[in-house]
Symmetry: none
């Protein structure tokens, strides 16, 4: 038990953590997406809030969504490594147990000579992928004594979950990463992985048999074979009763990994905020509200769209959040997704923390990357954000006398 | 030996570390206690000093006085945990050896059925507590071969020290924390603690026998049974000859724990500064001057009193300190005690460091929380303050060639 956990105590104060995915940006004509946005409500809040910057993983490190969120939830993202197979399973809405073994899978085209003609089976459409997965699920309900779950993803991608116990992660991929080569056998250096290796390779054989009449998708490749990390829950660590409101399955899955209650919600911001409002007076004292679209605009390299989404948040979402009167309200992101980079980046993430116990800025700084760099909260590793959220909600006892 | 210790070297420069206990605050009408105070001398000093903020233990962690001071003295406060019994012993002026076992004790009222009627014996007055402790000390000079020291505290509280060797700390409390329950036996999972457990429980029996004619204070409860941590001295680690000037016993005790010479002084700021002046030309090259009253005003929630004490420091104390011409003068606090919170808090602590080798601010910032947040020294863990004090007094050799 670390220091933070040893000091955590329960009270009735409510924390609201709003994650605008990919919030941080880079300037265009001198201003970032956030700095360019017209956000009067956030700026008004910033006057009496603490501002700062979050470092998602480490200086210069660009995180994926998994590590970036684990850090926000107070988990060392380097220690708690969530494998790609697991993230993919979470991303399509599966909730694998720690004893399960998850794999990302591709439909592929195998040539008569046993080499890969196309590692993506001509990028078959999603609907066809779903049909093929249903077919595989019927053909391969289990391998040996181990249940198998096959679920479609997007395009040629799908997920296979081998249901433990007795399984081990960290296996090598069967995908040789290049067309024209033969698929590899899944393997492992770990003697305890013998069964897992055997099941994975047998699954590939059985799938190939089930797909033998297909002209394009006549083979499968497995990658990222991993088990969900065994993660102590936020309930146990922080004595919280946490809830997640997220439209996208992967974030729901990550929240479930750390022991949050995942609330049913719709796919729009409006629907997510309504879910929050409905549950606000209930048992939960920590709400994680995830808003995905800002990241997507950044990924698309669409500065204007990201700016507009931030304005929409300010205009439509924030006023409804403030009406709930959270004891601690934090608005931040998991990482930066600058439109200028059209992808995740390593840049620090703006942080706004409103509570009765912050030292507000004594300048009239607005909410933006550079104002946050001058903020009273300073530059903080994301993994320490929970320290601040718990402290500001008076959920931490004093350390020592 | 860590890096700092390996580089420390002796010279004749003198360091003065002034700790205004609980210095940091929170704003009232836009200004903290320190920001609201009229402190022309500190502000003048700030113009050519380095400013920064100290993080006492970690982000969001509210420290007690023990860990907060150990960090200022260059000791990792999580590694060197000073137990409650030890702090209590230090606080009443005892100086337990590392082999001693210290306990906080309460006089209590035991009902005829063996349950606790009042865990605080009706909060008996301090004078009566002293009488009862004298009685216990006569009745129980030792348990088995182990000397016992009994000393009164405030009200129903007192301290018991079992004099080692052969003792072990980390025992459970006999206090069940609730009236109406039976007192618990002191216990431990550690097989080496058998003797300590036996002595503690036997002490409780002997005390009950000695108190059997009392109507209220007829029983004792033991808590926080701990040994002083074995701490390498500041002399050995930093090649300093350090002295402590503090009116309050606990701070004198903490200073003694890390090997400072504890100078005799009176209970007023005036007396403490006189003690400093008298010893300034002597053998010591590091002076820790502790001023307690700012913390008490904060604990009382008295913003105005704290502000006035800071003004008094600026007007009456600081000019006398400057006359001594310390080579390095540091004015800071152990932690924040905002009047708005009426207790210790997790907020960073203002730091002022005057030496010929600082980068002064290029703005005309005054000494206050938010100016310190913009300061050239940045945001520093308290445990690293000694690095800066030694560096600025040129007491550190170059690392590597």
């Amino acid at each position: 038990m670390d220091l933070l956990e040893s000091l955590a105590t329960r009270n009735d104060k409510k924390i609201l953590l709003v994650v605008l995915d990919g919030l941080g940006g880079l300037p265009r004509k001198g201003k970032t997406e956030l700095e360019a946005a017209s956000i009067p409500n956030l700026n008004k809040l910033a006057l009496k809030a603490g501002l700062g910057l979050l470092v998602p993983v480490d200086i210069g490190i660009t995180p994926g969504s998994g590590p970036a969120h684990l850090a926000l939830f107070g988990y060392d993202p380097v220690k708690y490594d969530v494998g790609r197979g697991v993230l993919e399973a979470l991303g399509i809405g599966l909730h694998p147990a720690p004893s399960d073994l998850c794999a990302r899978a591709n439909f592929a085209t195998l040539a008569k000579d046993g080499t890969l003609k196309d590692r993506r089976a001509g990028r078959i459409p999603t609907e066809f992928c779903a049909e093929l997965c249903a077919k595989l699920q019927v053909a391969i309900p289990a391998v040996e004594d181990t249940g198998v779950v096959v679920r479609p993803g997007i395009g040629h991608r799908f997920v296979v979950v081998f249901q433990g116990p007795g399984l081990v992660g960290g296996l090598t991929d069967s995908d040789p990463q290049q067309d024209g080569l033969k698929p590899l056998a899944v393997a492992s250096d770990d003697p305890k992985a013998a069964k897992s290796v055997r099941l994975a390779n047998r699954f590939v054989e059985l799938a190939a048999a089930a797909l033998k009449d297909q002209d394009r998708a006549n083979f499968v490749l497995l990658r990222g074979l991993a088990q969900p990390p065994s993660i102590p829950s936020m309930r146990d660590r922080f004595k919280l009763t946490p809830a997640c409101i997220a439209a996208y399955p992967m974030y729901r899955g990550l929240a479930k990994l750390v022991g949050m209650d995942v609330l049913e919600t719709g796919s729009t911001w409006e629907s997510e905020v309504s879910t929050l409002s409905e549950h606000w007076q209930g048992e939960h004292d920590f709400f994680f509200l995830h808003l995905k679209e800002t990241d997507k605009a950044g990924e698309d390299g669409d500065f204007d769209a990201k700016q507009e989404l931030l304005e929409q948040f300010d205009d439509e979402v924030l006023p409804r959040l403030l009406k709930l009167k959270p004891d601690v309200l934090c608005v931040t992101g998991d990482h930066s997704t600058p439109a200028a980079k059209a992808g995740h980046s390593w840049h620090e993430v703006p942080l706004l923390l409103a509570s009765p116990y912050v030292r507000a800025s004594d300048t009239r700084d607005e909410f933006g990357e550079r104002a946050c760099g001058r903020g009273t909260l300073g530059r903080i590793d994301s993994v320490k954000l929970m320290n601040l959220l718990l402290a500001n909600s008076l959920k931490l006892k004093k350390f020592g006398a």
